[in-house]
């Protein structure tokens, strides 16, 4: 790892000023779990690290019925998972945060760091896309708001401007009564998901009112599959419907192909993950088959 100066500013404005002045030689550090790997591999060689630890306004989780949930960017995955507010109002988000990576990374890694690194093989982007999260980006120039799906633009690329800091993640008031974030691993020993899929729905008994379905980790950015949502809407959930919608999902996405899995394999597994997740909308027996 190259030598660097370590700076500890206290406001978003100061951070933004440093970023503007130092440019590419300057990197922010939150939990450090992603950045340290990049530093050690000399993928990035900044001369200055700007710690976000003392910056005001980047912490805390609050909820109000009008604005919904606000999560400070420095909130760790473990804190999201533990938060009574999140568990009560957005159980799908708390559950996702409690299962991603491993206990250590959940204690160290922040939600903001996860989003800004824009690593496709991670969980929060998919879940937050389904929840229609909005990101708050701050700089010395002021604040702007961007849907998470506009923020994540490509493989390890976000819409963050060079002088901007992600300050907050906002999620509108919940309007779904079902939510599940599925993670699929190629082997049990892997941490990062090969595929993930978030499904949210409003149900009336075993009939779907409205659904949100987003696939991630296996596509460069989270992919919402509106065609599958449309097929689910207004229908009674049966094994046949789950298969029909899963086929649509598998055909709609554009999977990456790499050492962890070719695109054909990924597409097949997306089909399986989609079917199983949709089946969760109704009661299943111990073998995972739909009852009645």
């Amino acid at each position: 790892m190259r030598d660097f100066d370590y700076l500890m500013p206290e406001t978003v404005g100061e951070v933004s000023g440093l970023l503007a002045r130092l440019g590419d030689d300057c990197r922010m550090i939150a939990g450090g779990t992603a950045l340290l790997l990049a530093l050690r591999q000399r993928m990035v060689t900044p001369t200055h690290l700007v710690s976000l630890a003392r910056v005001r306004g980047l912490r805390g989780i609050t909820y109000d019925p009008r604005d919904g949930l606000r999560i400070g960017a420095l909130t760790t995955h473990a804190a999201v998972a533990r938060s009574p507010l999140v568990r009560q109002r957005y159980p799908v988000l708390a559950d996702m945060a409690s299962r991603l990576a491993n206990p250590q990374v959940r204690n160290q890694g922040t939600l903001g760091g996860n989003l800004c690194y824009a690593d496709p093989t991670t969980d929060p982007p998919t879940c937050l896309a389904a929840l229609e999260a909005m990101l708050v980006l701050g700089s010395a120039r002021g604040y702007r708001y961007l849907p998470v799906t506009d923020f994540l633009v490509d493989y390890y690329a976000s819409a963050l401007e060079p002088d901007e800091v992600l300050t907050e993640i906002r999620i509108p008031a919940p309007r779904f009564d079902f939510g599940y974030h599925a993670r699929f691993h190629r082997t049990a020993a892997e941490h990062r998901p090969l595929i993930n899929l978030a499904l949210l729905a409003r149900r009336d008994g075993d009939v779907v009112g409205e659904a949100r379905l987003v696939v991630g980790a296996t596509t460069v950015v989270p992919t919402r599959v509106a065609a599958a949502e449309a097929v689910l809407a207004g229908r009674r959930v049966t094994a046949a419907l789950a298969r029909e919608a899963a086929d649509i999902v598998a055909e709609a996405i554009d999977p990456v192909s790499d050492i962890r899995g070719g695109s054909a394999f990924r597409r097949d597994m997306v089909r399986v993950v989609a079917r199983r997740t949709i089946e969760r909308l109704v009661e299943q027996d111990s073998e995972g088959r739909i009852v009645a």
Binding site: Y6, T33, S51, N102, P103, A189, H191
Partner: protein
Amino acid sequence: MSRVTIEVVVNGQPHRAEIPARRLLADFIRDDLFLTGTKRGCETGVCGACSVLLDGEVVKSCLSLAVQAEGHEITTVEGITSGGELHPLQASFAEHGGFQCGYCTPGMLMAAIAILNESPSPTEAEVRAGLSGNLCRCTGYVGIVESIMAAAEKMRGT
């Protein structure tokens, strides 16, 4: 070289140190404080051999800079014994075959402490999930899980 001064409490003892900003927490613990119980394994966040507690929460010290621990409290495997007595988890690992070569053990113990802090009567599935950030290349995990389950029972006093 860019240096920083940090104040940390390690195993109950306050330390003040001037270190390079780029010093990893794992290296600070081993090479500056000579607490070599904490191991370096993969140094990429995968194996968990470097696990320590930061304010009571288990973290990987290879994924953190020492300067990030400024103002915080660290517990390493050397800090879990009391008055020369093994921690109940350590005794249980020895009794139930929780290690062979022992390289993963300090990290496993720190993860195990975090598991029992969270739930004093964990299920086997909870123990396995709690160990998902720690690799062992010798035991096949069965002995480790048994050690933790047995220690949990002892520590509950049942």
